[in-house]
Symmetry: D2
């Protein structure tokens, strides 16, 4: 099963909210009035200005809650490194891995010489897991034999500013393919609800006119459509 | 004008969301299914358990956006010290203080001997501000004569976990009266939308059976009603 | 190999620094003078007061950098969930696992019926890893067969306030044994350099006169010596 | 008195530490060995690579503690908006403002027509402050008449990554002059102890080959010397 991301909930009218908060910094008047007064055209204009000049602090007022299913523990270990975010993750200490649900990398799945070794390793790992449990080893210790490929499930919340940062790193073609696919789905979902906030998103090749890496991948994204396309 | 807080927006169905995220950690099944499956009774039971045992990380998935108007710069300087929060504040560098909008502390307002000195100082400060502007001093420098009492406006976003932390500090009777009033209004507003998340909130005297301070105020809150009552 | 923690570096004279920063909040005078003026007795008295009343923000000025070797990926996945901290971790995407370095839980090591299954699973996993690499699978994908038991290495930095929070959670007897051992070693090392900052540390049973959990372990720590003792 | 910053303490051998932590991510071997093994030439090469490509997470292991004296409350209000930082600030609630210590902006000091209005406003404010105290108003409320110009004192701790972010914003010529001078002094001090970490620092005009602002100042920095020069 490939990674599957769902948008559970989000800040309503996020585009307008962020634009109104930004406007408050430079306008007389009360915070409460500003949101209701803002016109649609002004929202777009303001968000474009903020995105381009990097004045992203108002983007923090909008947040997005995702359900992330079917990713490997290798991927979740990377995901939880993002610190301006909130995570609730299924615990291997408390939840038994009843059956072998694993993520198989495409380089393995499409390689008929490699795949049997992969399958055999997974089978042995889950069999050992069952044997350890049967011999009184607690789940939190039995899981030491389970592979990185093991599927996990999380609820992930990020605000729009951190999402933009996340997308700039994790949609880069040098990012690991699995977290890149998670990021791609997250961007697709967030854009539907807040097109203004995510009009400009992605790695430097697309958003800042160039790649900061010493060794660029050589295949910069050509457009947002290119970025969002399913691999 | 006393501090005036409005709830601009919030995470919909926050109680259910937080309970579902918490349940994911200890249950098999996918993140996406959990929210829809949760029953109301289970939500309440789970939130009570999380609050009491201090397992508050799932509370981070719910966030609340407030418009805060009519507070002093003395108060906003304290407010922005909370770092797990997002702020957009009206800038004194860019927005001219057209008229003298100030917060008057009750200890001054109700003291007929003190009040004239207060008024005179404010009057002189705003007059000087005008004179400086008239003589070519830019607003960002002219504002150096403006008083702490000067009103400001902010949009403030916090998640429910940080709000609980904020309430534990700022609803203490030893907190400064103005930020305490802001916190009181924020709690009233947040409770309406997420009664489960904020069922247990406030300083240690109310929530943890005792005050951690070396010199307690001697007047612990007796109940949530007592805490929420307008001073 | 059991977890092995080393203190790489730390803020010099951390006790004095924190006490001086705390004193600044309540005293006239300059920030620069305060550190040099502070007397040893005053440092101890102040730190005790701050610890007891929970006024821990000055503790943030002191930070500690640890080298953590020989912990499992199961443990590191928990460790990096602490967000007010900095991590540099050996990457399984770039560094090949040359030989099978794994952490064996004691419940497995001391269980002669379970141990062979564990060893067999580890052996199979590493053998498969080698076969995948040999068949052109890149290391970042081959590692999907590697087990949670796989050793990893990190540099971890936390400030003293976050360390106290970390110790309160991870030295609890209900915490996972491996991260608990990492925390125990970190506390031993940090106490040598900053005895005042860590005079009061550990879970609620030791520091707050009681356990907040609904189901306490039933074996509260009796003293700091008890807490620091090698298991 | 102009802002005066002193470096109170810092992570020893910060350049080497950061380079070693970065190297750990891509090398086999233990965290503990890496620091001692690193050679000086390798340190410089690695830090340059990290700075250029923006891989700054290892920079977080090094932190710097500053004493900041003689800045206005207008400036400190901006300073404490940086959230990945630790602050201890002299409290106007507890410390009485014994005499009128204020920051005078250069645009006022050098404007003989404006200066008398400024002085008169300050004099009136402090006189009112004294009268309010004499009439029983507590210091926390009397301070509402004190001006933004009022001096304050802080201890500020930031790690090297956040410092670089701070410098990119606050050394921009569009930043407010007072916080820009604080940033300039901080950079001078930090560079002495960790030249490698701060070899590339400052706003986009100097570090990224261009200004991201819609309305650039038109006077980009020409060199690090230009940036560090006293205004």
């Amino acid at each position: 099963m490939p990674p599957s991301v769902r948008l559970i909930t989000w800040t309503p009218e996020a585009d307008r909210l962020v634009a109104a908060a930004a406007r408050l910094c430079y306008s007389p008047g009360s915070a409460s009035e500003l949101v209701s007064e803002l016109k649609a055209g002004e929202t777009d204009r303001l968000l474009k200005h903020l995105s381009r000049s990097g004045h992203l602090s108002p983007f923090e007022h909008a947040s997005f809650v995702f359900g992330v299913d079917g990713i490997s523990r290798a991927c979740s270990h990377q995901l939880v490194r993002h610190r301006i975010a909130s995570f609730s993750q299924q615990s291997q200490r408390y939840v038994r891995a009843e059956k072998a649900e694993v993520v198989i990398p495409r380089t393995v799945e499409t390689n008929p010489e490699a795949l049997p070794f992969f399958r055999e390793a997974i089978r042995t790992a889950y069999a050992a897991y069952g044997e350890l449990l049967a011999r009184g080893v607690p789940p939190e210790d039995a899981r030491y034999v389970l592979p990185n490929a093991c599927e996990t499930h999380l609820v992930v919340t990020m605000n729009a500013r951190e999402l933009l940062h996340f997308f700039s790193l994790r949609l880069c073609k040098r990012a690991q393919w699995e977290i890149r696919e998670v990021a791609r789905q997250m961007l697709c979902l967030a854009r539907e609800k807040a097109p203004g906030l995510f009009a400009i998103a992605g790695p430097g090749c697309l958003t800042r006119g160039g790649c900061p890496e010493e060794r660029p991948c050589g295949e910069p994204y050509s457009s947002m459509e290119d970025l969002l396309e399913k691999p």
